[in-house]
Symmetry: C2
Subunit: 342 residues, 2 copies
Amino acid sequence: MARSIDLAVIPGDGIGPEVVAEGLKVLSAVLPSDVKLATTEYDLGARRWHATGETLPDAELEQLRGHDAILLGAVGDPGVPSGVLERGLLLKLRFAFDHYVNLRPSRLFPNTATPLAGRPDIDFVVVREGTEGPYVGNGGSMRTGTPAEVATEVSLNTAYGVERVVRDAFERAAARPAKKLTLVHKNNVLVHAGHLWSRTVERVGAEYPGVATDYLHVDAATIFLVTQPERFDVIVTDNLFGDILTDLAAAVTGGIGLAASGNINPTGAFPSMFEPVHGSAPDIAGTGKADPTATVLSAALLLRHLGHEAAAEKIEDAVTADLASRDGAPRTTSAIGDALAS
Amino acid sequence: MARSIDLAVIPGDGIGPEVVAEGLKVLSAVLPSDVKLATTEYDLGARRWHATGETLPDAELEQLRGHDAILLGAVGDPGVPSGVLERGLLLKLRFAFDHYVNLRPSRLFPNTATPLAGRPDIDFVVVREGTEGPYVGNGGSMRTGTPAEVATEVSLNTAYGVERVVRDAFERAAARPAKKLTLVHKNNVLVHAGHLWSRTVERVGAEYPGVATDYLHVDAATIFLVTQPERFDVIVTDNLFGDILTDLAAAVTGGIGLAASGNINPTGAFPSMFEPVHGSAPDIAGTGKADPTATVLSAALLLRHLGHEAAAEKIEDAVTADLASRDGAPRTTSAIGDALAS
Ligand SMILES: CC(C)[C@H](C(=O)O)[C@@H](O)C(=O)O
Ligand SMILES: CC(C)[C@H](C(=O)O)[C@@H](O)C(=O)O
């Protein structure tokens, strides 16, 4: 457990800077007094792209690499063409820093809204692969814009990449009370990638006899997420399926205003990055309506990753208490942050 | 409107034969008396594969091609390795008969259970592309089973294939009261395939000024399917995203026991195939617990496709009335079929 944290902060666009400010407020409040926190802001995102055309220059990637971790708010605005910041900044960071564990916990906190009748008991975590699959950017098109156009997207999957994230998921499952791991894929159609995943879970699972495993096709998994979400404990899945499942999981647990995520390199070779699942929500930027809770919970994941378990739990307890005390009266972004920090 | 229907029937495995029997019962009951129905059964599925190792021999594919349409129950059992019947039978039929419109209506009928609180008003149809995308079977693996394994899956997309399904979706949207088309893709990550889809919707949409269009990333679409499903009218999407969205859509509209689908070749060059979205459910086969409604509704889609609109509506009205009258008391598969037929 380090006695200092050298944090890179990418506030980003829209509500990004607002929620990051609260995240940092709460993070500072829970840190043991002898742990020094240093932060460096990076001006990256839509504003920067509009101004300079840059998404993530190599020099800044190099600087970011020197930090202990990265906290990101949200980037993007409607003026940036789809794909530019995703490929040029967000995914570039995930790939460059080998964030192979994209960690997304889902919990239905007491007193929070869910679209599901009967308020099921939801507490699972999705371990989404973060560096392979259909996200590798291996696609192209020819005769683009003509009636003869062909466009491809290649999903690349390796035993190396699948095994390391499956191991991480088994470790997490073994440490949880329910000790259950569900692999989600589509191995009846994407047979090559799917069978690599299935075989890997079977083989690695043999080393974890205490963890029960099962398998669901991604389409069936979406059904269970709304009809029986309490059946899930740890889900391990491919990059694209994980993207889809975690948004749905966020929706059934109170919305993406509460969903935290960590893009983690468990080896420590590169800094890990923590960010709320939500976007920059330009429509409510500056109104104080953004809920900073997802960013605050992401800060808890960050602290846990750096070994500050007690501080992480403090944040999670504060969030639970704060949500339980909400009476529906609107509070500003900073009021929520203040409440959590105190 | 043909005065005779030459139907191929693939009852399949598990509950397949049971639900198909009821589907045919209801279909015969609503057909005008001067329309002759001839059916030919094909023994395809898990039982056949266990017995002979065959999934769909060329000779039978050739015979199937001669029919006006195909009604399929469900195929598969736990003894068949994942992928064998999917690639060898179901997807083979979709690809061989160029079923480029995979049509899946979703409606929350009165008095049916939904996991969603507040019972939103749900009535939309998903037009899922059926012959391209990640379903083409263009993948492979090397060094299989070793730590150096690499597995790929290639999504193939063509202007030809995207345009024809997008046109079909616009036609359907133009014929509906709400006149709204939502494209679902992931064009910020799968930029090549995604932009082909986006450009096509924009271009074809210019010919349909009366239809409002919008776009959602697939992850966001799953959120809206549970928080605001009433916003959807017609969804057009890629093969894999359509697979995922329609299972989720089925879940929020009373479960896959009610979800119908058509694998349609709108040109009539090949027979179209109609099937419930659910599987063979071996656990309840033979118990009379299977709900044949999804198959009955698939038969309605079949009749509509063959020009028997009035008969199709009769079925849909009967289903609406039957669901409205259900009091939760269990009824057998054939009792439901009898009720619908009368
Ligand atoms: C913005 C986008 C590239 C990203 C993803 O698809 O991974 C987002 O949806 C997420 O889930 O973090
Ligand atoms: C069985 C499988 C090949 C199929 C699909 O993925 O299309 C099924 O899930 C469906 O939705 O019809």
